[in-house]
Symmetry: C2
Subunit: 147 residues, 2 copies
Amino acid sequence: MNRHRYRKKNGDNFRWTNPRRDLVNIFTKEEHLSADEAYMKVKQKNPEIGVATVYRNLDFLTERGILNRFRFGDVKARYELRDLEKENHHHHLICESCGKIINYSEFVQREKKLINAMEKELSEKHGFQINSHQLHFYGICKDCRDK
Amino acid sequence: MNRHRYRKKNGDNFRWTNPRRDLVNIFTKEEHLSADEAYMKVKQKNPEIGVATVYRNLDFLTERGILNRFRFGDVKARYELRDLEKENHHHHLICESCGKIINYSEFVQREKKLINAMEKELSEKHGFQINSHQLHFYGICKDCRDK
DNA sequence: TATGATAATGATAACTATTATCAGTTAGTT
DNA sequence: AACTAACTGATAATAGTTATCATTATCATA
Ligand SMILES: [Mn+2]
Ligand SMILES: [Mn+2]
Ligand SMILES: [Zn+2]
Ligand SMILES: [Zn+2]
């Protein structure tokens, strides 16, 4: 599991650097980018940046709770800004044909109730402390169906 | 998205070979194996088998609906036999510390209702045809918490 | 039950995503 | 301005997976 280990050991005295700022900026404009896609974007603003820096900081920002990391069946990880408000909490539809990813936030209320009950029971029954959940729907998007 | 393309073009005249039989057998005994883990297991029975064959057939069996493929935050894919009965439908708890994967099937009834409603609305609203869903809970397992 | 078409295999090279290493650079503190 | 640890970029290394290709095995048919 531990393939992401650019972890801080002592304290939290991190530095707010340009690559970090640039990355966060990019994710305010675009969602679900892979490391490579983010790298391309950041490069436009700062051609000097290296891939390793992008990977390191996607990891850094994810561990700091600023980004969410997903793996949608695809090998490569994808990222988005973490929802600040609970109301924005959303999940994903993934097209198995073209790979398109669609956000949806319907049913948040009803879902929340079920998820809360689940988390409670699961943590009691399995002694498992739940930190987050992901709900993915796989299928075929409208565009691909129309073809 | 199309990184898995050992796909048949013409018809469905596939052959029921030893590697395929062996793989299915292994998954009746163990769950959530990665390609490499499955390879090791099959090798015990048939030391001649190659990795490529394992990858090809994990893919083959997944596309034939015999196996489920997952990516639990980890880079590597993991597989299990697809649930034959709806009653066995289950989801997963993933420990972010040790990587342990726990099946759970509580709430299937309540969940089914919500999921059905979701699938209906989502397909109407987004024109998206939903084929399957995955619900993953991430957190810390009992063993890791006790340490 | 032998034959033939072609699906499948195994070895291995290649590729893609990610991580480690390390010398040089910077942010933030004094 | 000087100091120091955090950070960076280049690049090598690794892990997981897929492509290639010559050889073999399956199975429908004769
Ligand atoms: Mn999203
Ligand atoms: Mn399972
Ligand atoms: Zn599509
Ligand atoms: Zn654990």
